[in-house]
């Protein structure tokens, strides 16, 4: 615990601008990208930067707890994607799982086709949400919170709602819900320092991750049943 605390204290020096910039990059990527590996990396990065920002308003131990919950959620999503990929492969869909194959396919895809229209639309929508979040943080700053936390809270909540509106895939909807919840959590920890509230919000995030992972597996299984047999 002492090592963790020392590590967090070291990292909390990144709590201001670097963390905000990290979230400004990672969160919109979750809206734009359809690649689950990239999305999981962005999600893990987002939880790390949100935890860093939280060090400004809550004790380090509780921040560590929230960070751990976030990374556990990423692990759940990773295992779910692996499971659903193996199910869809069994149903006849082929996709290389090695990192080398994946990165080569990504680069080749971008070189040949550029960014997809879906990705461009997501990027434009994410930019618009970012502008609205900036305007909201300037004109309606959240009470009891520093300016950068206000901005990030609005941004995460806005992008979460955007993802909810744009997605039908259970995992992406789940990421949208979790992003919205993370945005609110970032603001609410400044108002309510209760450990029980932290526990409940963590449990809620965890259950949302589990339920969307379950629905993703059901989706993959239904493809498996439909095509494979």
């Amino acid at each position: 615990m002492a090592i963790l605390r020392a590590l967090l204290e070291q990292l909390s020096t990144l709590a201001a601008t670097p963390a905000v910039v990290g979230i400004l990059v990672a969160a919109p990527l979750l809206v734009v990208s359809r690649d689950w590996r990239l999305n999981l990396l962005s999600l893990a990065a987002k939880y790390t930067f949100v935890a860093l920002l939280m060090t400004q308003v809550m004790p380090l131990e509780m921040v560590a707890l929230k960070g751990l919950i976030g990374w556990l959620i990423c692990l759940i999503f990773y295992l779910t994607e692996q499971q659903s990929k193996s199910l869809t492969r069994a149903a006849g869909e082929t996709e290389g799982l090695s990192l080398q194959t994946w990165s080569a396919a990504r680069i080749e895809g971008w070189r040949r086709q550029g960014v997809s229209s879906q990705g461009l639309f997501g990027l434009m929508a994410a930019l618009m949400v970012a502008v609205v979040a900036y305007a909201a943080a300037s004109s309606l700053p959240l009470p009891e919170t520093p300016a950068e936390i206000s901005l990030v809270s609005y941004l995460l909540a806005g992008l979460g709602i955007l993802l909810l509106g744009l997605s039908q895939d259970p995992l992406r909807v789940g990421i949208g819900m979790l992003m919205f919840l993370a945005g609110f959590d970032l603001f609410y920890v400044a108002l309510e320092h209760s450990l029980v509230v932290t526990g409940f919000l963590g449990a809620l995030s965890f259950v949302i991750a589990l339920v969307t992972a379950y629905l993703k597996t059901v989706q993959a299984a239904s493809i498996d049943t439909g095509r494979g047999g």
């Binding site: 919205f180 509230v197 379950y214």
Partner: protein, 475 residues
């Protein structure tokens, strides 16, 4: 000595685990779930507050205040009635699930939800109640997922809309604490009122946030949808009343009555219009639920003791409409097929007459037709509204007519002869004759109960009168 309140938090959760473990034996898991709910329902009704009872050599004291994780759990009289309503409704839903959907996860998930929802009714301050409610909503998605269908989009929408309500409800507590310290700052009260209205509009599915309700019934397990729209929605209603009691400023707000009436009427009009045009019976159940919620809000908008009694009466009789209709349709749906269009239900009444009867009686009750449970609340509302708000009464009646058109269309399809020989041999394997008789008896009992309450509403009206007398936010 054991605090009786813990029974309602721990026992359903423990039994949920056991029910999940034995779920391949439908009879055992159903009987376990039903008996637990009935036992807890009877305990909460029969054992007076403060009385100590002996159970298996242990003394259990009911009521009082219990501290859990530093938070207070308080059992008030109003919570006793609310918890009894939850458990008896759940018992009925589980009994019908045994008949219509024995392999679904409704039983274990429903029990786990009951534990969380009981906690939501008992815990104070209200922010913890809101968090427990959200947890229950998230957990209920496991039960909403249909065994043989793609992921439930309606369920995801339900969770999404509910989650959007969370920030407002949690922030209200902080804003009102600030307002108590600085009463001259009326902006705090104003902002809290806006958040309260928006949050409960999202949770109750008020127009324009109603889209999740027909989606939920459209692609989820129908009995689980009925459970959610009665049990979960019931807790949302009790939570709303708790907010109004805790912060009387909201109830005393000049716009409260008109806001509740307008929200209710918009739900009634939209629900009635789309129900009349609906060609998918599953979504029809959703629009029926929308109308019923709207009617309850119209009653609340009367801003009187009578209106409150009628709103609560509507809430109490709602399971006779929604759960019965959902169970009937679940039974009628062809196994493995899409089952969401009228064509797929053509002639199904000849294969499953009890399913058709449950669908019909449930639908009639939801539309407030005579000789069904829903009639008692609806007729009293027409009489209360007509002298002062004739337009509102006519709109509620029109919505009932709209719902009846939808039900009639669905029932005509159910009664018509099948188009071809397809499916002649399907469903040859069913429950054994002895079990079939028992299960049919359960459905018959549910249908008969609805008719009895329709004919003798005095059986159930004292409960809503008693409940309304315990709610004190009205002037």
């Amino acid at each position: 000595m054991i605090a009786g309140l813990l029974l309602f938090l721990i026992l359903p959760l423990a039994v949920a685990g056991a029910v999940y473990a034995v779920r391949q034996w439908a009879a055992l898991s159903s009987l376990l779930a039903i008996s637990t709910c009935v036992a807890l329902g009877i305990i909460i009704v029969v054992v007076p507050l403060g009385r100590t009872i002996d159970l298996w050599g242990r003394q259990i004291v009911m009521g009082g205040t219990l501290s859990l994780l530093g938070r207070e759990l308080v059992l008030r009289d109003v919570d006793r009635v609310a918890i009894a309503f939850l458990y008896f409704t759940a018992a009925a839903a589980f009994a019908l699930a045994w008949w219509a959907s024995p392999r679904s996860l409704l039983l274990p998930v429903g029990l786990a939800s009951l534990s969380l929802l009981s906690g939501a009714l008992l815990i104070r301050p209200l922010i913890y109640a809101v968090l427990l409610l959200q947890l229950a909503i998230a957990v209920s998605l496991f039960g909403l997922q249909h065994e043989d269908r793609p992921p439930t989009r309606g369920g995801l929408q339900y969770l999404s809309f509910s989650l959007l309500a969370l920030p407002g409800l949690l922030t209200i507590h902080w804003l009102m604490e600030r307002y108590a310290l600085t009463p001259e700052n009326t902006a705090l009260l104003h902002n809290s009122a806006i958040l309260l209205v928006l949050s409960f509009a999202l949770l109750l599915g008020s127009v324009p946030f109603h889209l999740w309700i027909p989606s939920l019934t459209g692609d989820s397990n129908l009995l689980a949808s009925g459970f959610v729209l009665t049990v979960n929605h019931g807790v949302v209603w009790f939570l709303m009343l708790s907010f109004l009691e805790t912060y009387p400023e909201f109830g005393a707000h000049a716009d409260f009555a008109s806001l509740a009436s307008t929200a209710g009427l918009s739900m009634v009009v939209v629900g009635g219009f789309f129900a009349a045009a609906q060609r998918r019976p599953e979504r029809l159940v959703g629009y029926g639920a929308l109308i019923d919620s709207g009617v309850a809000l119209v009653a609340l908008g009367m801003y009187s003791d009578r209106g409150l009694v009628l709103a609560l009466l509507g809430l109490i009789v709602r399971p006779f409409g929604l759960v019965l209709m959902g169970a009937g349709l679940q039974d009628l749906r062809p196994p493995g097929g899409p089952g969401d269009a009228l064509e797929s239900l053509r002639g199904r009444a000849w294969r499953s007459p009890w399913g058709a009867l449950a669908f019909l009686v449930g639908g009639l009750s939801l539309a407030g037709m005579p000789t069904t449970a829903g009639f008692a609340a609806r007729w009293a509302l027409y009489r209360a509204l007509a002298p002062s708000h004739l337009g509102s009464a006519l709109l509620v009646m029109a919505a009932s007519v709209g719902l009846m058109i939808g039900i009639w269309r669905a029932f005509s399809a159910l009664l018509s002869r099948p188009l071809g020989p397809d499916g002649e041999d399907e469903e040859t394997k069913g429950p054994a004759p002895a079990r079939r008789t028992l299960l049919t008896g359960l459905v018959a009992a549910a249908v008969l109960s609805s008719i009895c309450i329709g004919l003798w509403p005095q059986i159930i009206t004292p409960i809503s009168l008693q409940l309304a007398s315990m709610v004190t936010f009205l002037p």
